[in-house]
């Protein structure tokens, strides 16, 4: 018995537990309660399978096949990467025994398991009933108590059954795929995932303490499912980031991260540089605080008041402009207003998708009035100097024939684009 187990561990790649565990195992097995003894009866099919798969299973002690199998599975999981102490195995066996006796152990397997599956729900069926269930549940050729054992374990291991169904478990495989499927295991492509999730199965290997029947490398226990979901979410987010960040043709995740980091640093640096270079502009322009705020939010409220004030202001500005641009600018700045080319205004409003319908209407009225006042002979043209954002004005004002406006166009360093083109 111990020899076979040792062989198993050796074949799986380096017995983590060593021979000591086998001795303990023998002691446990020697004290198996009656249900286990019942299971020990159907030796013949097991002998067949055992004989067929001697190198792996190594369960030459008929009745103790299942326990030995479980122990070997356990060791495999241990080896596969959990590195949990051998103490977990006796704990698991202890659990088996306890469950066989009808008690549901609580969280004992959680020691190394990390709570992969609810230990209390692990062994819902008494092992003695296993056989009956097996006949009904599985059409497996090995309709034996071992199947029942599988069933019992599987019922408590939702989907975990497939987690470690490695080829080494030959005779188990005949029964394991059935219980695995029966448990609605969420493990889709078991075989394909065998190599990669071997590490993941090892990573989540603390739980495999109970997932004895699960195929190794299969992430079907809730823990691994959650991890897989998480990985998918991360991949999703990375893809979204890839679209945002330029130069995102790198398929490597690490280099993608590097690219993202560089891009964020670059943007922050750009903000810094722009804030430095904006000093000149900021000094010259007193942004349209009052008007924008009043128009944007309270435009409808202060409609009457702002209209009159705007009109007055505009008239003042126009008068100042006729004399000297500088004074006009200062006047505006004192009022907290600014001059802005229509293109910029429209650019800003479109960039921010700010609803300016009401504002523009407000602006349109007084501005038109001011225009009329300023430039009687000229065509109805929106002046370049707007005290407020006026996006729906004509984009190309006809200024050439307007003396006042030409003066403004010449001297107006700010609003030039549309005017100069005319």
């Amino acid at each position: 018995m111990s020899g076979s187990l040792n062989g198993n561990s050796a074949s799986s790649g380096g017995g983590a537990t060593g021979a000591g565990g086998d001795d303990f195992f023998d002691q446990m097995l020697s004290s198996l309660p009656s249900p286990w003894a019942d299971l020990a009866n159907p030796k013949s099919p097991w002998d067949l399978t055992t004989g067929a798969n001697a190198p792996r299973s190594g369960e030459d002690c008929g009745g103790y096949d299942e326990s030995a199998l479980l122990a070997s599975r356990l060791r495999q999981h241990q080896i596969s990467g959990s590195g949990s102490p051998a103490g977990a195995k006796p704990m698991m066996l202890h659990q088996m025994l306890m469950s066989a006796a009808g008690r549901a152990p609580g969280g004992g397997a959680g020691a190394g398991a990390g709570g992969a599956g609810d230990p209390s729900g692990f062994f819902p069926l008494p092992l003695s009933l296993g056989r009956d269930d097996v006949e009904g549940a599985f059409k497996s050729p090995n309709g034996t108590g071992a199947e029942g054992l599988f069933n019992g374990y599987g019922g408590g291991l939702p989907g975990a059954a497939q987690a470690n169904n490695q080829p080494p478990f030959h005779h188990a495989q005949q029964g394991a795929p059935m219980p695995a499927q029966n448990f609605g295991g969420a493990a889709p492509n078991a075989g394909a995932q065998a190599p990669a999730p071997a590490a993941s199965g090892g990573g989540a290997a603390a739980p495999p303490r109970q997932r004895v029947r699960a195929r190794r490398g299969q992430a079907t226990d809730p823990h691994s499912i959650a991890e897989r979901l998480r990985r998918e979410r991360i991949a999703e987010r990375m893809k979204a980031l890839q679209e945002l960040v330029p130069n995102a043709n790198k398929t490597d995740k690490a280099s993608m991260l590097d690219e993202i980091i560089d891009y964020v640093k670059f943007l922050q640096l750009q903000v810094k540089v722009l804030s430095m270079s904006r000093l000149g502009g900021a000094a010259a322009v007193a942004p349209l605080v009052a008007n924008m705020s009043s128009e944007g939010q309270g435009g409808s409220n202060g409609a009457g008041g702002s209209d009159s004030s705007l009109t007055v202001t505009e008239q003042q500005v126009a008068k100042l402009m006729e004399e000297d641009m500088g004074s006009a600018m200062q006047y505006l700045q004192g009022k907290g207003l600014c001059l802005m080319p229509i293109s910029l205004a429209s650019a800003i409003s479109s960039a921010t998708c700010h609803p300016r319908a009401s504002a523009s209407h407000l602006g349109g009225g007084p501005a038109a009035a001011a225009t009329h006042h300023l430039i009687p002979p000229g065509p109805q043209a929106q002046p370049n100097s707007n005290n407020h954002v006026n996006p729906d004005g004509p984009s190309s004002p006809n200024l050439s024939g307007l003396t006042a406006q030409s003066a403004m166009a010449n001297g107006n360093a700010d609003s030039h684009k549309d005017a100069s083109s005319a």
Binding site: R237, S275, S277, A284
Partner: protein, 135 residues
């Protein structure tokens, strides 16, 4: 929304502080840029915007030259931030994105995407303003 806030902040700066201190003005503008980013409607619900605002207020309070040390909430985030599954650069990203220290990697990526979007919008806005007013 973002532009509006930024322009208002710029107005405040231009009006309130005519002092020619270059560095101070730069800092104020940068502060205004980040504040407007954080206040934009798209990002007001994000973790990074709250963290950014918090950080800005901290800095503002520090400005008057108080000798009091700024009380920082020391959160023990080591177990969270040093997950083995994260790539090595995740820590750098956490430092870059405001509020990135307390987040899981998954959320960090999402916040980074939003932060990048807002940063880009802000840079575009500032660029537009700069082009418009200084040519």
């Amino acid at each position: 929304m973002q532009a509006l806030h930024f322009l208002q902040a710029l107005a405040r700066i231009a009006r309130a502080a005519p002092k020619p201190a270059h560095s101070a003005r730069t800092r104020q503008i940068r502060h205004a840029a980040y504040a407007s980013m954080a206040h934009s409607s798209r990002s007001s619900r994000r973790t990074w915007s709250r963290a950014l605002l918090h950080r800005l207020r901290q800095r503002q309070q520090q400005r008057p030259g108080r000798l009091l040390t700024v009380r920082r909430r020391v959160r023990i985030v080591t177990p969270i931030t040093s997950r083995p599954e994260e790539p090595a650069r995740a820590e750098t990203l956490r430092q870059l994105v405001p509020g990135g220290r307390g987040m899981e990697y998954c959320n960090l990526l999402e916040e980074t995407a939003d932060y990048v979007q807002c940063l880009r919008a802000q840079v575009q806005l500032m660029q537009t303003l700069l082009d418009a007013f200084s040519s």
